[in-house]
C-alpha cells in the first residue's frame, strides 16, 4: 500500500478549507455582514474548530478504515449504508455546486462563447482521469498544485498591499451582531463541515501518524488566514459598495494585481488558482463516491468513476439553467443541505463514544 506524507494530506485538507472562497463565501455573507465580513470569517472558522476536533476524534477510531467503511463498521450494514448514501448525496451536491460555480465563472470571465457543457466536461474528464488512480496520486497532484497556488497567492497579495485602504473597513462593528453571527454560521457550514471527507484517507495511510493532528490543525490555521486575507483585501481594496455590486468581487480585486511591478492584467492567470482548487476538490469527491459504491473488482472501479462524472455533468446542466437559479440555490438551499453533515458528525461521534464504553 502506497503511503501519503503528512504534507500531502495537509494540501488536500487546505483545498477543502479554502475552495469556497472562489466566488461563494463572500457572495453569501457580503450582503448580511457587510464591512464586518472578515469578522464573520474569523468567527466562522472558530466555530468550525469543533468539527476539526470531531474529525480528528473520528479518525482515531479504527485507523485502517476509511469513512464509509467506518460507518458500516459502527452502525452495522443497513444503517451504515443509509448514512453513507446521505453523505454521498451531500457531497454530490457539493460537487454540483462547485462544478457549476467554476464553469460559469470560466464562461463569464474568459470563454464567453464556449458552451458551458464543454467547460464542465473538460474539467470532469480530467477529474475522472485522476480519480481512477490511487489516492496517493491525488495527493501528489494536490501538493504540487497547492504549492503553486500558495506561491501565487503570496505573490499577488504582496503586490496588492499598495492598493489596500484600511479606511474602507471602517466603521468598525456597526452592522447588526446577529447578522455577523448568521454569516459566520454560514461560513462554518460551507467551509468546515465538508472536512469530513478528509476521512476518506484512513489515518494508517499517513507516513508520519504522530504528525497527523498537528498538520491538520496547522493547515486549519493557514486556511483560516487565507480566507481572512481574501476577504480583507477584497473589501479594503474595492470598498463595500463595489464588493456588493460585483458578482465575483474576489476576482475583480485580482484585476488590480501588478506582479513584479510590470506584469499587469494577469487576473486570468492568477484565477487559475480557483480552477485548480475546485478541480482537486471535485477529484476528491469523485474518488470518495467511487470508493463508497465500489465492489472488490477493480475493473468496474473506473466505470463507476466515469458514470459518476457523467451524472455530475448532466445534473449540473439540468439543475442550474442560469446563474440566478444557482445563486438562489446557494443562498436558500445549499447551506441547509450541508448542515445535515452536522447531524452525521454527532451521530458518528456519539456512536463511537458508546461503542468505546461497551
Amino acid at each position: 500500500m502506497k503511503k501519503i506524507s503528512y504534507l500531502e494530506l495537509s494540501s488536500i485538507f487546505l483545498v477543502i478549507l479554502i475552495t469556497f472562497n472562489s466566488g461563494i463565501n463572500l457572495f453569501l455573507i457580503k450582503n448580511t455582514s457587510g464591512i464586518d465580513s472578515w469578522l464573520s470569517i474569523i468567527i466562522g472558522y472558530i466555530i468550525g474548530l469543533i468539527f476539526l476536533l470531531l474529525t480528528i476524534y473520528i479518525s482515531n477510531y479504527h485507523k485502517e478504515l476509511n469513512l464509509f467503511e467506518k460507518n458500516k463498521h459502527l452502525f452495522k450494514d443497513f444503517i451504515g449504508t443509509i448514512i453513507n448514501i446521505i453523505i454521498s448525496i451531500i457531497f454530490f451536491i457539493i460537487a454540483i455546486t462547485l462544478l457549476y460555480n467554476i464553469s460559469s465563472f470560466i464562461n463569464t470571465q474568459f470563454l464567453y462563447h464556449t458552451p458551458i457543457l464543454i467547460t464542465m466536461s473538460l474539467l470532469i474528464i480530467l477529474s475522472i482521469y485522476c480519480a481512477t488512480k490511487e489516492i496517493n496520486i491525488i495527493a501528489h497532484i494536490s501538493l504540487l498544485l497547492m504549492a503553486i497556488n500558495i506561491i501565487m497567492f503570496i505573490l499577488c497579495n504582496i503586490s496588492l498591499i499598495g492598493n489596500i485602504k484600511i479606511d474602507n473597513l471602517l466603521p468598525f462593528l456597526k452592522t447588526n451582531y446577529l447578522n455577523i453571527i448568521i454569516s459566520s454560521l454560514k461560513i462554518a457550514c460551507i467551509n468546515t463541515l465538508p472536512i469530513l471527507i478528509i476521512l476518506i484517507i484512513p489515518k494508517e495511510k499517513i507516513t508520519n501518524q504522530n504528525k497527523y493532528q498537528k498538520s491538520l490543525i496547522i493547515t486549519y490555521i493557514i486556511g483560516t488566514l487565507i480566507s481572512l486575507i481574501i476577504t480583507l483585501t477584497t473589501i479594503s481594496i474595492l470598498g463595500i459598495y463595489l464588493t456588493n455590486m460585483y458578482e465575483y468581487a474576489e476576482y475583480m480585486v485580482l484585476k488590480k494585481v501588478k506582479l513584479f511591478g510590470f506584469l499587469e492584467r494577469v487576473e486570468n492567470i492568477i484565477s487559475m488558482k480557483w480552477i485548480t482548487e475546485t478541480y482537486i476538490y471535485l477529484t476528491l469527491i469523485i474518488y470518495s463516491l467511487t470508493k463508497n459504491i465500489k465492489k472488490k473488482n477493480k475493473n468496474t472501479d473506473n466505470c463507476i468513476s466515469i458514470i459518476i462524472g457523467i451524472v455530475l455533468v448532466i445534473t449540473t446542466n439540468y439543475v442550474f439553467k442560469n446563474i440566478t437559479i444557482f445563486n438562489n440555490f446557494i443562498k436558500n438551499i445549499f447551506i441547509y443541505i450541508i448542515a445535515i453533515l452536522f447531524i452525521i458528525y454527532i451521530l458518528i461521534t456519539t456512536k463511537i463514544i458508546f461503542t468505546k464504553k461497551e
Partner: protein, 386 residues
Amino acid sequence: MKSKTLLLIVIILLLTGCYDHKELNKIAILTATEINKNNDEFIINAEVVNPQSPDKTTYIQAPFIIYTGKGKTISEAYRQIKLSSSRYLYPDHLSILIINEKIAKEDITEIFDFYLRNPSVRTEFNVLIGKNEDILSLTTPIDKLSSSSILESIKTNNQYQGITNLVTLDDMSIMYLNPHKEIILPSIKIENDNKDSDNIKNTEDTKIDSTYKLSNLAVFKGNKLQGYLTDDESITYNLITNNVKNSIITYECDKNKYLTAEIITSSSKIKPKNNEINIDINISTVINESNCNIELNNAKTIKQLEKELSSYLKEKTEKNINNIRKKYNSDIFGFLDEIYKHDYKTYQKVKNNWYNQEFKNIKININSQINIIGKGNIMEGNNEKN
C-alpha cells in the same frame, strides 16, 4: 480501454473547440471611446488602432481610425461599429472613455451599466468629461494614438501640476455608489480646433495649432454635472484628497515679486471631530525660484518663510473650500464619508440633513504645515548690485 475512451471524448471535444478564438489580424483593437447623445440616441466615436507593419513603407497611414456608431443603448451603438468595420471590435484594451458634457449634465449613470456588466471590458480605463465633440479625432505628434496621448498628458499633468486627476471607472463607480461622496472627473477639450486637426497633417508643423487642453475637474452632484473647478480649486481638491505628487506653490513674497516652491511630498488627513472637520496638510517643499530679497541662508528667515507659506496655503485652501461649498453644494471631498468612518455618533446626527444644512455650515479647521527642505544650487537669494 479506459484511456482510449477518454481520448476519444477529448478528441470530440477538441473538434468542437475554438469558440472564442480570435486571431490578432482579425480584431480591431479599441483603445478609446467617446460617448455623445443626440435625441435619445447614443453616438459613439471609437478609436481603433491601425497597426502599421514595421518595415518602412513610404506612404503614411493614419495611426488610428475613428468609427462612429449610433444606437439606443451603448452596446447597440458598438454593434453598429462592428457592422461598419471589417473586424471584430476588441474592447479589452480600452484605456480612455470620454463622456460628453451633454450626457453628464443630464444623467451620467446611463453609461455605467454597460461597462460594469460586460466582462470583456476592463474597468480600469480612465473616464473624462469632454467639453467639445470629436475630441478623439485630433492627431498629435509625439504619441501616435490620441488615447495614449490623452492618458499620458493626464498622468503628466497630475504628477507635475496637480490640476487634473486620474479617475478610473472603478473609482467613479465607488464615488457614485458611496452615498457619502460625489463624483469628480477630469475634463478635456480641444483648443483652436481647425480644419486639419483630424488629419495627419496636424503633426507636420513644428508649431501645432490645435491641441488638447486638459481642463479642470468637473464637479457632480448626484448624477448631474454641476460645473467646473478653477485651477486653484483643483489643486486644493487634490491636496486635500492626497492626489498631488508634485506641484508648485507660487507666493507673492514682495510686491509684484514672486517665489515658487516645489512640492516634493505632501500628505493630508481629514479628521472629523465633534461637529468640526480638521484638515491637516503636511508639505515638504524645495525653493525653485525666488525673486525677492530673502536671505535663504538664514535659518530664521527660512522659518519665517515657512510660516508665511503655511498661512498663505491655509488661507487659500479655506477660501477654495468655502467657494466650492457655496457654489456647488457638493461634498466632493467626502467629508461625510470621513465622519461616517471615524465619528459614527456625529454621523447619526448629521446624515439626515447633510446637504440642507450641515455641509454648508460645518466648521472646517485647516492646519497646514510647510517645511522647506532645500533651496537649490544658489547660495544667496538676492542680487548684490542693488
